[in-house]
Symmetry: C2
Amino acid sequence: RSAPKTDGRHDSFELEPERHPALHVISKRPFNAETPSDVLDSFITPNELFFVRNHLAVPLINAESYVLEVVVEGVEKTTLLTLEDLRTKFPQHTLAASIQCGGNRRSEMIATRWVQGIAWSIGAISNATWTGPLLRDVLKYAGYDDSNENLQHVQFEGLDCDAVCCYGASIPIEKAASRSGDVILALEMNGHTLPRDHGYPVRVVVPGTVGSRSVKWLGRVVVSHQESQSFWQQRDYKLFSPSANYPTVDFATAPSMQEMPVQSAIYEPADGSVLPPSIEVLTVKGYAWSGGGRHIARVDVSLDGGKFWHTAEIKPSPEPFKQQQGRAWAWALWEAKVPVPPEMRNQVEVVCKAVDSNYSSQPESIDPIWNLRGLNNNAWHR
Amino acid sequence: RSAPKTDGRHDSFELEPERHPALHVISKRPFNAETPSDVLDSFITPNELFFVRNHLAVPLINAESYVLEVVVEGVEKTTLLTLEDLRTKFPQHTLAASIQCGGNRRSEMIATRWVQGIAWSIGAISNATWTGPLLRDVLKYAGYDDSNENLQHVQFEGLDCDAVCCYGASIPIEKAASRSGDVILALEMNGHTLPRDHGYPVRVVVPGTVGSRSVKWLGRVVVSHQESQSFWQQRDYKLFSPSANYPTVDFATAPSMQEMPVQSAIYEPADGSVLPPSIEVLTVKGYAWSGGGRHIARVDVSLDGGKFWHTAEIKPSPEPFKQQQGRAWAWALWEAKVPVPPEMRNQVEVVCKAVDSNYSSQPESIDPIWNLRGLNNNAWHR
Ligand SMILES: [Mo]
Ligand SMILES: [Mo]
């Protein structure tokens, strides 16, 4: 294949965008930063405070010359689409979706037993609205036809590259081509042109799926018989037994992460807070989310480390953040006002756990889900 | 609505079918019996040993006069289909699917803390092939059109009734009408006419979904704006916090169970077995399954109660039991040959846990998932 169609400088960190000072920076090159806890309590994360997970340098892309290539294996012609084409040739959709990094809450996993990876706290997840054409409409336009059963994956190639290769990932065709999959080629985020850190000019947003498949600076889409062969699809974003480690693990037989399991976290009270000695009722707040469009069925909160549980109130989600049946892509926000018995006032251990619409539950502790890449930490949040 | 179209005797237990003596009978009226452990180790559960979960007496249905009613709200004409119609008017499909009762493994939950309900061990799940027309083809024939967005649920009414009402349940329209949902109106089970205990002459099989939605002795299908209003949809098959109980729980706000979470169980060695004192390698075998068509990504086995984990071999599934991407309806069978260190020979605690293709995990213990109906016990199996 030919070189990505940008005006270059893909492996240079000299042209990074400016960032909001309130972001919690975890690594600078590539830039990774999380949403501050006090900003999580909102159905919309402002664009400038949306967590940033970059695998490589941010490419500088010229909107005028930008072209998206769409290739369907078995279809001779490659479809080339300008930004104008993406805006005008297809119906535009807006949907609300959280994006969560596969490593969200890794810092707790690291604390249990060391793993390599960005030490995210609870802010490697954010929520926004996304506007653009549906991927399925673009695939049809490019000649994809669901009667060809060889075509099982849709690969995405980013325009973020180092000297050797560019970022890439893929998702199953069912997700990409189904009406209920809601995969969107986002041109706007919260009603504004995509910021450079979030994929300007085009990011595919794969709702309900690990963030690493929502490829930013999208340069090429390939409908294929096989998964993306990129490092990030084949040798990362896979999980193994807590007793397995390099070099004996077999990446080939582990499935690549797609839909994520149920998650929740507490952002109030902040970790380590000291409660007023006379407190009678403690207000606990947090988010909860599950992959695959599953909505949150219930959030339980405990002040005694998990013996007695109080059921939290899930806040009513305004449109378009509503928890739609099977298409609940946006997080739920919840709040519990929990009575604090006098004898517990100086020994509260606040814990939350959520169940999703499958009544799938979060695991109690990290040890049994520990994995060598530190992915999918969805243990109870303490 | 009119009375169900059978030749009656719905509330009589005098005309129950004969049953195989090897079934583990748990209750006689209604009849509930589980598959013996030694029979679980097979991709096909023989029809006569498939677990039986009856909510009411088994109706005696005359194939000649049997008619399935299909009603689509907003479509004036009710569609009536004979068995011959179901066999000849629609393409016939065969698929392999496990059916699991919502109460599978309830006995372990009861042992932790009492709950009402049938005390199932690990055999309230079985696996078979199912043959018949797809529900979606029948719905289209009856005038269902997916552009009518009011139609959100498909209700099933059984011909098993007591003096007051008949069994009923519903599933979301997305599952019922999508190509990948694979919902089938089964006329055959493992290549034979359905046995009376399994819904003769027609059972809807909703793969990946709690068994209670796979309504037996199907008499009527209604595409509706609302869920089934039956007791079993509204006041059962819902889960609550472990700290919640009658009479304060609010059934109205809890979602009805549909897709089930990841599950696994050990059938060899049998619970309480004594190992030979000189054993060097222990063979551990079991099944694993997840709802929603998710396949099993990994099964871990521990001999020390969960400190060190060995990854089991998942047996290759023959056609049609293959673990197809997003449509893995049949269980996986697994085996681990685990070395037993000399110092552990008289203190082995065998445990298994599985993860599915979402990397959703099983909870470690029962207490935090305990619920007043004793449903969805998918804690690690010990
Ligand atoms: Mo990520
Ligand atoms: Mo059940």
